[in-house]
Structure formats: structure tokens, C-alpha cells
């Protein structure tokens, strides 16, 4: 195995294009586990963190661009980003331990394409896009369209994600992410749920999106229109919960059962919606 440290996006693309067996290293918190367990044996590891811009969080068109090498801990320490997208940041900050937080990245979590990735549902609910660099230049892709199945992405040979973009949040909007795990930390989500809401000045929901993790082969977008036109009252959140339970198509595995995951999808939908609503109401921008 070789270790490559390209200093430009073009160099990285060239290496990846020349060697289809090469793997991109961002935080490494998934890659190194699989490497050491012998599940993968790549010909090269391409560390993209030394490419300029990869470790930057910057404001762009009122939204936020987050470099592919930015650790989730760095996101949590960024006051502006946290104020704009508390749900995205709390999802990112739930991945692994304090130690893992110092390394893991949202782009890596996305490309790992695990159905339960904690940072993904809130990105999807926020309509985030990923900037993809490749042999044919760069393209922006909806985050939702990056994973295609467990462990698989829509990235073509030679492509890698250079940044994630969170669009400018509308006024009176906010988001929340909740997951269910058996312990209080360190587990993979059994169910994850993000809700992103925009209100009018009077506090009525004008638009709502919801996405679920760990209840299908990839992140799920679920119709959250039950909240639109409401003030997130009990009947509205119950309807949202029913939609979440109905939309979930989980499997039985070592982390949970189908019935449990469907039930908990609804529970988390209710709880996340209420948190997002309170945040949106309190949001000044």
C-alpha cells in the first residue's frame, strides 16, 4: 500500500484516476478500521487533508461551505455554523467519541454510505449539496444522491468530494437531529431522524422536511407536509410521526428489530420536530 499526500485537487484526481484501487483518506475513522480488520486492502491511501481549503469552513452566498477535511469537532466549535444549522452540527457531533470527533468528517461519513451515518439525515433535510471533483472537473450533487446503497456511492472513478455546502437558511428556520442508541454514546444509530423547519413571522410552519437514517438501505426523505400550516401542535406532530413510521423500511439486525425501528422513527420524528420548531421560533435570522 502507498501513502499519497497530494497538495492540489487536480493532483488528487490524477492519483485516484490512475489507480482505481486507491482510497481517499479524510478523517480515517472508518477507513482505518476496515483497513486494520482486513476488510479492504487498497493499493494506496490518498490523504486529502493537505490540499488547500480542505480544512476550511467558509461563508458563501449566505450559506456555509465545509471542506471535506473539516473534523466534526471543528464544526462544533464554529459558532456561526452552529447557529445556522444546529441540527446538522449536532448530527455531526454525535459520531463516535471525543477522540473520533477530532478526526471524523461529514464528507467521510457521507462517502462511507452506511445507512446509519449520523451526519447525513440533517444534511439531506437541509438540502445540502456535495461538491465533487473528478476527471471532468467539478460538479455539485445533492447530498441525498451521493449514497446509493450500503457502502456504495454515485461517485465515478477518479471522483471525490471536496466540500459540503449548506444553503443560506431562510429567516425563522432551524433544524434538529435525534438518534436512538442503546447506550448514551458510542453506538451506531438504530434510528436517526432530522427535521428542518421554516416558519413565518407568526410561527406557522411554511415548509418542512424530514429525513430518516438506519431505516432503509440509504437515508430516506419523508414527506413532512403534515407540519406545514400548523404551529407544530400535537395533532401535527402525531401525523408526522405516523408518516415517519409508515415510511421506514428497516431490517432486523443486531442493533434493532423492524417493529422497534418503525416505532422509534415516529417517536424521534415527534421529538425532533418539537425541538426544531422551538429553535426556528427563537431564530432571529
Amino acid at each position: 500500500m502507498k501513502f499519497e499526500t497530494p497538495h492540489s485537487v487536480d493532483d488528487a484526481v490524477a492519483i485516484l484516476r490512475a489507480d482505481p484501487e486507491a482510497r481517499v483518506l479524510a478523517g480515517g475513522t472508518d477507513l482505518l478500521v476496515r483497513l486494520r480488520a482486513g476488510h479492504i486492502s487498497p493499493s494506496a491511501v490518498v490523504d486529502i487533508k493537505r490540499i488547500p481549503g480542505m480544512r476550511d469552513i467558509s461563508q458563501e452566498d449566505g450559506g456555509w461551505r465545509i471542506g471535506a477535511g473539516v473534523s466534526c469537532a471543528e464544526m462544533g466549535e464554529h459558532a456561526g455554523l452552529k447557529a445556522a444549522y444546529p441540527g446538522v452540527v449536532e448530527g455531526a457531533e454525535l459520531i463516535g467519541s471525543t477522540q473520533v470527533q477530532g478526526r471524523c468528517t461529514m464528507a467521510g461519513n457521507l462517502c462511507n454510505a452506511g445507512p446509519a451515518g449520523d451526519s447525513v439525515p440533517a444534511m439531506v433535510a437541509a438540502q445540502a449539496t456535495a461538491r465533487v471533483a473528478g476527471p471532468n472537473g467539478t460538479r455539485d450533487v445533492a447530498v441525498f444522491d451521493i449514497p446509493t446503497a450500503p457502502g456504495q456511492t454515485s461517485l465515478a472513478e477518479g471522483e471525490f468530494i471536496t466540500s459540503i455546502f449548506l444553503p443560506a437558511p431562510p429567516a425563522h428556520s432551524s433544524d434538529a437531529y435525534l438518534r436512538f442508541i442503546p447506550r448514551t454514546e458510542m453506538d451506531i444509530a438504530v434510528v436517526g431522524c432530522a427535521v428542518n423547519l421554516t416558519l413565518d413571522a407568526a410561527g406557522t410552519v411554511t415548509s418542512a422536511s424530514m429525513s430518516l437514517g438506519a431505516v432503509g438501505p440509504k437515508v430516506k426523505q419523508v414527506d413532512a407536509s403534515a407540519l406545514v400550516g400548523t404551529i407544530c401542535d400535537d395533532a401535527a406532530v402525531e401525523a408526522l410521526a405516523a408518516a415517519a413510521t409508515a415510511a421506514a423500511t428497516p431490517i432486523d439486525d443486531k442493533r434493532g428489530t423492524i417493529a422497534f425501528r418503525k416505532d422509534v422513527s415516529g417517536v424521534l420524528a415527534k421529538r425532533a420536530a418539537r425541538i426544531a420548531y422551538i429553535r426556528a421560533k427563537g431564530a432571529s435570522s
Binding site: 475513522t29 486494520r36 477522540q99 448514551t184
Partner: protein, 159 residues
């Protein structure tokens, strides 16, 4: 297989080593630099026994490649005491029986020191969540949490 030459700083000393591309920082620390205080408990980032600081940030050294340390700064348990003067956390872990078998202790001390460096007055809940990635199977955590909180108080008083 040609090996990679890495120049880095470990516990304040400039060091260089040759490593294979798939050697982790933990492998390098233990097998090449003889710094065996960092332990491999899981090799998957789930136990925290290999915790070190990389450029001041906590990481599991089992989840960092040795080659990635080029030009960076690494702090391990072996660098925590100042000569023969123990860090207050080290002193209190002994005095307050906050260790039994001791195999998780280096990782917990490095993680706790990092917490107190930027959060001098943590709540019990903050300490528990900060250390959630450091598994201990002997103590039930009780005396560890108390030792960290007591040390924080002591250091605030001393400062």
C-alpha cells in the same frame, strides 16, 4: 516495500522514523518509539486506550496513520509529567484510587487533561460525556469521574 520517512514532534522532542503506509500512529509509538503507554484495546476507535493529542486535539492513535504525523505534534501519556513532577491528574488518580488494572488509565489521563486544558470547571455530566470514548471495565468509572472533578477544583484553586 519502501518505507515512508516521517519527521515529527513527540512529547516535545523532534523524532523521525520509517513506517509502512499501513502502520498506524499507535504502531509507530509502540513498536518504533518504544512508547508503550498507549494501548491497543480494539483498533477501531471504540475503547480510547490509545488516546493521544495530535496538534492539541484528542485522537485515537489507532485511527491515525503513522505517515499522517509528518510535521505534526504528538503528545502521549509519557509526556504528561514534567520530569519527576506528576500532573495533578496523575497524582490524584493514584491518591484517589481512580485506577485498578490501569490499562485504560493512560488514555483516560490524556483525555481528561485535554478536557481540563480548555474546560477548567466541567460538570459531572460533561466529564462523563467527554470520557465516554474511554472504556474502563474495572472501576465502574465512579472514582475516575471523582478524581477528574477533584483535580479540576484543585487546579482552579491553585491557579
Amino acid at each position: 516495500m519502501s518505507r515512508i520517512h516521517v519527521t515529527t514532534t513527540v512529547n516535545g522532542d523532534a523524532v523521525d522514523y520509517l513506517c509502512e503506509a499501513d502502520d498506524t500512529l499507535l504502531d509507530v509509538l509502540r513498536d518504533q518509539l518504544d512508547l508503550t503507554g498507549s494501548k491497543e484495546g480494539c483498533a477501531s476507535g471504540d475503547c480510547g486506550a490509545c488516546t493521544v493529542e495530535l496538534d492539541g486535539r484528542l485522537v485515537c492513535s489507532c485511527l491515525v496513520l503513522g505517515a499522517e504525523a509528518e510535521g505534526r505534534t504528538v503528545e502521549t501519556i509519557e509526556g504528561m509529567a514534567n520530569g519527576d513532577v506528576l500532573h495533578p491528574l496523575q497524582k490524584n488518580f493514584i491518591e484517589k484510587a481512580a485506577l485498578q488494572c490501569g490499562v485504560c488509565t493512560p488514555g483516560i489521563l490524556v483525555a481528561a487533561k485535554n478536557l481540563l486544558d480548555h474546560t477548567p470547571d466541567p460538570s459531572e455530566e460533561e466529564v462523563r460525556y467527554w470520557l465516554a470514548g474511554n472504556l474502563c471495565r474495572c472501576t465502574g468509572y465512579d472514582k475516575i469521574i471523582r478524581a477528574v472533578l477533584d483535580t479540576a477544583a484543585e487546579m482552579r484553586g491553585a491557579a
